[in-house]
Amino acid sequence: MTENFAVRVRSAMMVVTIVTLWCATLASPARSEVSFVREIAPILLKRCVGCHGDKANLGGYRAHTFQYLMKNGASGAAIIKPAKPEESELYQRIISKVESLRMPKSDDALSAVQVSLVRRWIAEGAKFDGKDPAASLKSLMGPREHPLAPTVYRVATPIMALAFAPGGEEVAIGGYNEVTLWNCRTGALRRRFQRLPQRIQAIAYSKDGKSMLVAGGVPGEYGELSRIDLSTGNRAGVLDTFPDIALSAAFNTEGDRIVAGAADGSVRVYDARTGETRWASRVHSDWVTSVSFSADGQFVASASRDMTVKVYEAATGALYTTYNGHSRQIGKYQGQAPVYAVQFASDSPLAYSAGGGKWVQIWDPTQAKAESGDAGDMEERFAKEGKTRYIPTGFTRETFALTVRDGQVFAASADGVVKQFDVASLAEIRSYKAGSEWLYSIDYDPVSKRVAVGSYDGVVYIWNSVTGAPLATFRAEPGRSTVSK
């Protein structure tokens, strides 16, 4: 009796649902067609691609591109029959009442609105309104619109990006959905550039000082490289988006090229004037943490958590060499560590790199290529120390940021310490104690000779690098004034 009762209730409910849906359809006859890119792809991305994507393909089915979406899974059932939602396995599975069949499996069902969207889209012919049916759904989505930043910061947000404005009187800080600009002496908030990506990982001023390059995104799902017009304070254009957060961006010396690296392992170079992509490369097997142009514009270097630094020909993107000095196992300087920072010197062909290891490593890309040799002399290559020079940092934890200028290198570490070294002698000039928190970002201004770092707890520390005297320490949080000297 109970069973019958339940079945009856269920059938009755189904009738109600169907009637409601039917009424809904009637009520808005003038509706335009469902857009796959704007309306269906976001649902698929959030609810389906986790199990049916490029990493996992349960049931032999993938849905991370339109092409794959339309391809039947291992069961062979017709996944999507255009114009026939009732005969489409995909539709049947999202409305199934059988728990073991209903998708998303062991998760909440799609909402009634989402189900009806999918139904309508199939009924209207399951059309694709994007550019490339083989492109990942993520890439179809285009740049996101971002919300305003919080008026008042409830908690500290780690400072992952920091850059002196030309002249060194102001410093730009990566905030939450914004970049903030602060007076270096007073720690007073000067400007807020809003509606930017959630996290800001890199800031670079253009050579003319009129615009600012910003890289960031949402970890695990979205990366963005965009430009801020400093006269309006608005996002002036999005150069590119990435499937994971963009972690680094830089101009070349001339200011006519831009390089960016992201957590999806990609490195891309753009024409700074037109915004066109010049080349894109994905040779790293892990996050690209830092990118830099050589002073002469010949090379691009990218550091990665995969323990290598890759060097490319800047014009073409062809891989020039791989610097393996951070994953040495034989020789004097042993250890294997992710690389978090790479910087070319402004006045020499040398590259500086550091990360989880104990040293800042200084090397020449052309020598690195000669030392890389071929696979045959592997052991010999590992045994010799090569031409790399090593500066022992004395840090107990990771080095996250480097800046090389004026014959000096500054390294910021998770110890909360910044160290200043002389490039010629490799000697330590000075050590600055910020706080106890991790330092993620650093910049040096050649005019004012100031050095600034940003920390996990949202505090900015600025020093005079000539005297070593502290200039300002402030919490870069709009709405919470905590200036101290």
Binding site: K55, D107, R305
Partner: protein, 914 residues
């Protein structure tokens, strides 16, 4: 469905009220706890409501109705009291006509109540499965995100979650945007799949923790224990198959918290009992299983027995011989299994002989036993077998497997010495506790103190820790070497504390001695660990730390020692331990019959650790003597011992059984006359050689005196070469090396002037003289082989390295784990039996060994020796007609005899113990 429940609820309620009115002085309802004080907004308390029946207590938590006087103070959901505001109220709990009034007070409801990283955040990461070894809980955590295993190192987790990966994983501005939530919610692709729901208590905790700033305080406070309600094992009797658990954590600062919602629950067998995220246990099918509750490094288990009513089952009160049967039958009756019939005499004879001695009885003994009509003949047989030399040797062989006795590891007779020492302990039935103390505290020259070879065979402190724990405590502590044990309460501290016991054992040229120094350091803090079993770390350096440990180990109150020992004996006889595997005792791996294990352990302790007494007790039980034939009501039983287990003979048993069946191996008792005969020959040989000794010596002295005296350098070289050659194990030494060594030793002794030679030198010289005689050497070798029973695989001091036995899973004695012996049948085994060298040689030899028997007698003898029974008339005539077939055939009569022996050996009745 829900509607129906609702009606049922009303009916129950009405009934209850009716009963209340009728019986106003009903006993109060059993509710735990009796009083509740909540002192923060996020605190709660899980009630457990218990009913009583003649079959025992049962859970009413989800059946009870709850009424709160003041809903502004608290609400109740599934028996969980949740605060809603400051104040005091009463929660009235009613079930089955009884009620209880639980006073509840709530304080500090408005005070901030931040999530505690160490005690809440980390617990939820374990609960959701993030911090398991196969996901993120390892240094090579998946996707570059690594946590410490089950949160054992909060510092690693603090860094991974907040600072590492460019603060990628948490978003304090907008907690719901955090990667560490979106991934397990599967809002973005996660290789680990869906691990979290927004309705989970863990989600709320993690989100709150992030909202509060993902802050990390690592207080010095520790969780000292967790306490479960109910506190004792439970029976889930159909239809009452649910049990709500409640878990309290006690902290070193004196605070106590309900952690029911964040504890991790696991079942040892999901088919038997399931457990959900809230600690609600549900019986699934008949059987027994453990539910383990983990919270940080603490683990507690409860054992559940699920009873279903089996249609048509009637308990028939089978006969009981002793306490073993009483306890086994009680369990069978409870779980509704009907034991098998008693096995036949021939089955018993074969089974008990193989189990106790490793060998098949001789046909003569079989005849005698089968013809014996006395009622207590089975008990007398057990007594007889326990007194045999075969018993002592076979048991010692099994122990030798665990103690890694091999001539490669224990050289120059040490392996034999140690093995024979163990044999002797079985022979004399040395109390097991004393035997183990002898081993664990042995020091001295291992050629003179055989027991000390235990330490020589396992050279490192870590291995000594792990093997000692595994052999004598049935505990696999090796996990705790690097981190707290995932399935047990063994911590890293415990591991290094046991290691400290062995930190001061030194070894020098085969001599085990107290080193006087050496410490065991905790790797994380470099803290010097106090040896396990000792109260004070400041022992004098001369003290033997092993004494304290072995006293702790062999103390009657030790929770492992006796239980592990009797369980090993039980497993050897029954084919499965009461705890299985036998060396994996932990609360999450419950005994299939706990009272039985306790009884055996108590008997063992009470008897003064008398091994034979326990073996006798088991062998004389009906339980041991059950048939392997199952009935309708015990077919599915695999762990409660309602029937005998059919199992393949072990490698050694098969080899010897084939030997016995083919008459290649005589009964070991025939060895004694042979040994006596050889001894006489040796004596005669020595006597004849003695006559020439003086002449030989004089000649040698003359030769050496005429030779140039050796320089210091030459002498050093000589000694070095001698050491080098002696270091080659005897069995591996080539004849050339042996001859060289003999010669060099002779030179060494002879170079000492006769006047300066000690008694030992003279003895060495004499032995060298005797050993120079090939006849003498071969006689001694033969004698050694016979005395050590080298031709009997089940009786040897160490395994023969043969393809046959290794194919059948004989362990190479590399580990202390019984699992090193492979039980799984393989294709190679089948091939070995069909046409392998051992089988083919032995069956061929059978022809000559059976030469004096006529066909009929041969058939009978083959059946008696191979199967321990007479052939049936049908079998007999079939075999005879094959042997005597007049048909034209290429095979002669001896080939036919080979075939017959072969077919006996290849029959399941022969290869299996049943």
């Amino acid at each position: 469905m829900r509607f129906c429940h609702f009606i049922w609820g009303i009916v129950t309620l009405t009934l209850c009220q009716g009963m209340l009115e009728a019986a106003p002085v009903a006993k109060p309802l059993n509710v735990s706890p009796r009083e509740i004080k909540l002192d923060s907004q996020r605190s709660y308390r899980q009630l457990v409501v218990t009913g009583e029946s003649p079959q025992g207590p049962y859970d009413l938590t989800r059946n009870a109705t709850y009424r709160v006087d003041n809903p502004k103070v608290a609400t109740v959901k599934d028996g969980r009291i949740i605060p809603t505001g400051d104040g005091a109220t009463i929660v009235e709990v009613s079930a089955e006509g009884k009620t209880a009034k639980i006073p509840v007070t709530v304080a500090n409801f408005k005070k901030p109540d931040p999530v505690r990283f160490k005690f809440e955040t980390l617990a939820t990461l374990t609960k959701q499965g993030c911090a398991t070894g196969s996901c993120h809980g390892s240094p090579h955590g998946k996707g570059g995100f690594s946590l410490s295993l089950f949160g054992y190192d909060p510092n690693i987790d603090r860094i991974s979650l907040t600072r590492d990966g460019f603060n990628r994983r948490v978003n304090v501005m907008d907690p719901a945007e955090s990667l560490m939530l979106k991934k397990p919610l599967l809002e973005i692709p996660h290789v680990g799949g869906k691990r979290l729901r927004k309705t989970d208590a863990s989600y709320k905790i993690l989100k709150q923790w992030i909202y509060d700033g993902a802050s990390v305080d690592l207080p010095k406070v520790e969780c000292t224990k967790i306490v479960l309600t109910p506190g004792e094992n439970r029976v889930l009797q159909e239809p009452r198959i649910k049990q709500q658990l409640s878990v309290l954590a006690y902290y070193s600062d004196g605070s106590v918290r309900d952690i029911t919602a964040i504890a991790t629950y696991d079942t040892s067998s999901a088919n038997v009992v399931a457990v959900d995220m809230d600690g609600l246990v549900t019986g699934r099918s008949r059987g027994q299983a453990a539910i383990s509750v983990r919270y940080l490094d603490k683990l507690q288990s409860l054992h559940f027995t699920v009873v279903e009513n089996v249609p048509g089952f009637v308990w028939k009160s089978p006969a009981e011989n002793n306490a073993v049967d009483t306890l086994v039958n009680a369990k069978l009756k409870q779980l509704q299994y009907l034991p098998s019939e008693t096995c036949r005499d021939e089955e018993f004879l074969r089974r008990v002989s193989l189990d106790l001695t490793g060998m098949l009885p001789s046909p003569e003994n079989t005849r005698q036993f089968l013809q014996d009509r006395s009622p207590n003949k089975r008990a007398r047989l057990v007594d007889y077998l326990l007194e045999t030399e075969e018993y002592a040797r076979f048991q010692a062989m099994k122990l030798g497997d665990l103690m890694r006795i091999t001539p490669g590891r224990l050289r120059d007779g040490r392996a034999e010495g140690f093995a024979n020492w163990i044999v002797d302990s079985f022979r004399k039935n040395r109390p097991y506790d004393a035997f183990v103390r002898d081993i664990l505290t042995a020091t001295g020259d291992t050629t003179e103190t055989p027991a000390a070879n235990y330490f020589l065979a396992i050279p490192s402190m870590e291995e000594r820790t792990e093997m000692t724990s595994q052999i004598f405590m049935g505990t696999r502590v090796e996990c705790a070497k690097c981190h707290n044990h995932p399935f047990e309460n063994w911590t890293q501290r415990d591991y290094y504390s046991i290691a400290a016991v062995f930190a001061r054992i030194g070894e020098n040229r085969g001599e085990i001695k107290l080193a006087g120094q050496g410490e065991s350091l905790l790797p994380t803090t470099k803290e010097v660990m106090a040896p396990w079993g000792a109260k004070d770390i400041r022992q004098p350096v001369t003290a033997d730390r092993r004494i304290g440990f072995s006293q702790w180990l062999t103390n009657p109150a030790n929770p492992y020692f006796a239980r592990v020992a009797v369980n090993r004996m039980w497993a050897a006889l029954m084919g499965r331990g009461i705890v299985e595997p036998v060396d994996d005792f932990r609360s999450s791996n419950p005994p299939s019959n706990d009272p039985l294990l306790n009884m055996l352990a108590n008997e063992f302790v009470k008897s003064g650790y008398d091994r034979k007494r326990i073996l006798r007790l088991i062998c004389n039980s009906q339980t041991y003597q059950r048939s392997s034939k199952t009935n309708r009501f015990n077919q599915t039983d695999d762990s409660l011992f309602s029937h005998a287990r059919v199992r393949l003979l072990t490698a050694e048993q098969i080899q010897d059984a084939i030997g016995v069946a083919t008459r290649v191996l005589g009964p070991p008792s025939t060895l004694n006359p042979e040994l006596e005969r050889i001894q006489k020959e040796i004596d005669a040989r020595i006597a004849s050689r003695d006559a020439n000794y003086a002449g030989w010596l004089a000649e040698k002295e003359k030769a050496i005196s005429s030779a140039k005296p050796k320089s210091q350098e030459e002498r050093t070289k000589l000694t070095e070469r001698i050491t080098e050659l002696s270091n080659i194990p005897t069995v591996q030494r080539s004849p050339k090396d042996a001859a060289e060594l003999h010669d060099l030793l002779e030179q060494e002794v002879l170079s000492i002037p006769a006047g300066k030679r000690t008694e030992r030198h003279r003895k060495t010289l004499y032995n060298l003289y005797l050993n120079g005689d090939a006849d003498y050497v071969s006689l001694v070798k033969k004698q050694d082989g016979l005395a050590n029973r080298m031709q009997y695989a089940t009786q040897r001091p160490y395994p023969e390295e043969s393809r046959f036995t290794s194919t059948f899973g004989q362990p190479a004695r590399q580990t202390a784990c019984t699992c090193e012996r492979q039980n799984a049948p393989t294709l190679l085994q089948a091939l070995e039996l069909l046409n392998g060298g051992t089988v083919s040689k032995m069956t061929q030899d059978a022809v000559s060994r059976y030469a004096t028997f006529d066909d009929k007698r041969m058939v009978e003898e083959l059946y008696l020796s191979g199967f321990c029974r007479f052939p049936t008339s049908q079998e007999s005539s079939a075999a005879l007609s094959y042997l005597q077939s007049a048909e034209a055939s290429v095979k002669g009569s001896s080939e036919r005899r080979i075939d017959l022996a072969w077919s006996i050996i290849n029959s399941p009745e022969f290869l299996f113990q049943h």
